[in-house]
């Protein structure tokens, strides 16, 4: 699909949108909690990929997780009123998880939600504050009253818990 986009085929973008708009919109809506702002992120992310398909390197990762992270980063920029990066730089993401067809993606999403639900509440909260609210570890420590070291450990072990279950 990426090859078709590189060749300038608009129909490939339509296919890509049908396949992944839900991923991009879901994460943007979770961060921004506004349907209009989330819709803008969808437009931006797909337009940038159209303009610069080289930014996605198919040898170094898969499209769904890459789009999800790009969408999250853009949404956080908007949330924190930061100017956007002028370009979606090449950002390698290495994952062996298969997300390319709808059924396997649903399976992964269910598993991830299961793991998140099973994490201790403090740990899940720290992960969510960092990822969906774009807070830095010092900000999280300031808000929760937990020591910095505890916050760092919670975030790392939370991420690793996700990886372990899907390994």
């Amino acid at each position: 699909m990426i090859a078709r986009i590189r060749a300038g085929e608009q129909s490939a973008m339509a296919d890509l949108y049908d396949r992944y708009a839900g991923v991009v919109y879901g994460v943007a809506l979770r961060v921004l909690t506004s349907t209009a702002a989330a819709e803008d992120v969808v437009q931006e992310v797909f337009l940038q990929l159209w303009r610069n398909p080289q930014a996605f390197n198919a040898d170094r990762g898969r499209l769904a997780p890459w789009l999800a992270v790009i969408a999250r980063n853009r949404a956080i920029d908007l949330l924190r009123k930061r100017p956007p990066e002028d370009d979606i730089d090449e950002m390698p993401i290495s994952t062996g998880v298969n997300l390319e067809d709808e059924a396997s993606q649903k399976l992964v999403v269910d598993k991830v939600r299961g793991v998140l639900g099973g994490l201790p509440q403090d740990q899940r909260k720290a992960l969510e504050m960092a990822f969906f609210e774009g807070m830095t570890h010092s900000e999280i420590a300031g808000k929760t009253g937990d020591p910095l070291g505890t916050v760092k450990t919670r975030i790392r072990t939370g991420l690793l818990a996700l990886r372990k279950v899907l390994a």
Binding site: M13, Y25, G26, T35, V42, F46, V69, L99, V109, L159
Partner: protein
């Protein structure tokens, strides 16, 4: 995992853009520049964050969003598209050119683009590193200045001929006195005590922060005065931004207590 353990937690924060300490950030980015294992671990951590992002999958954008995107694509100027392959193929159509030079031209074009991209990325990361370096240098200068001041205070306090003297009204005998300086923002407390009653070996003076909210007193450190009843303490609270209406001091067993043991021996004047 063969990534370096000393960077493990910073890497996880970095993968989310949540690492905000300029020194840690500069150290990690410098390390990433030379450590393939840590770069691979960063890629894996990004994939973990992608799973988090996918947990939000579910709601679908409204139908108009698709049409809006397709219209925007149609309006995009084609001249901006970068396509090195098309450039090479265009050259092939010129019949008088043999295949070998064409291939070389194509390869040169591809190499130039790759080199240009490398150069652009290097330049960007150089700019970022330069900015971080300047930030670290200015932080370092500030820290050195603070450190020099703190050292002067400490040296004075510990000088063999240090002569603590409290001036009081002529008719008042020397009274136990504690002076505190508290910064809510820094969550830090400096305390200077004089003329306190010396304590038995197994007792200490414990300081309590009295929250402005009226909540239970929170431990703000403890200290033991010297034989003349003088002491100094610097304490960092577990977190910053705790509004205080004052501080109080009690006598507690060595090692400190969770809650104050009455009576209060020192409290704010007035």
């Amino acid at each position: 995992m063969s990534a370096h353990p000393q960077f493990a937690e910073a890497l996880a924060l970095y993968a989310m853009g949540a690492l905000d300490n300029p020194q840690d950030l500069a150290a990690l980015e410098a390390h990433l520049g030379s450590c393939g294992d840590c770069r691979r671990e960063l890629e894996a951590l990004r994939a973990d964050t992608a799973l988090l992002a996918l947990s939000a999958t579910g709601p679908q954008p409204p139908a108009r969003s698709r049409q809006r995107l397709l219209s925007a694509l149609a309006a995009e100027p084609r001249a901006e598209r970068r396509n090195p392959q098309r450039y090479a193929l265009g050259r092939l159509r010129r019949r008088w050119v043999t295949i070998a030079p064409v291939m070389m031209m194509a390869m040169l074009a591809v190499f130039s683009i790759l080199l240009w991209r490398d150069l652009r990325n290097t330049r960007r990361s150089l700019n970022r590193t330069q900015a971080q370096l300047e930030q670290v240098q200015s932080d370092l200068a500030r820290t050195n200045k603070d450190l020099a001041e703190a050292k002067m205070i400490r040296d004075l306090m510990h000088a063999p001929d240090a002569w603590p003297l409290t001036l009081v009204s002529r008719k008042t005998p020397p009274q136990p006195q504690i002076k505190t300086v508290y910064s809510k923002q820094q969550g830090a407390l400096l305390l200077m005590a004089s003329n306190l009653t010396p304590l038995p070996k197994d007792k200490i003076y414990q300081v309590w922060l009295l929250p402005a909210s009226g909540g239970a007193p929170m431990s703000a450190g403890w200290f033991k005065p010297d034989s003349k009843g003088n002491g100094m303490m610097f304490h960092k609270m577990a977190s910053a931004d705790i509004p205080a209406k004052g501080f109080a001091v009690t006598i507690e067993p060595a090692g400190g207590s969770q809650t104050p043991t009455m009576p209060i021996v020192m409290e704010p004047a007035g």
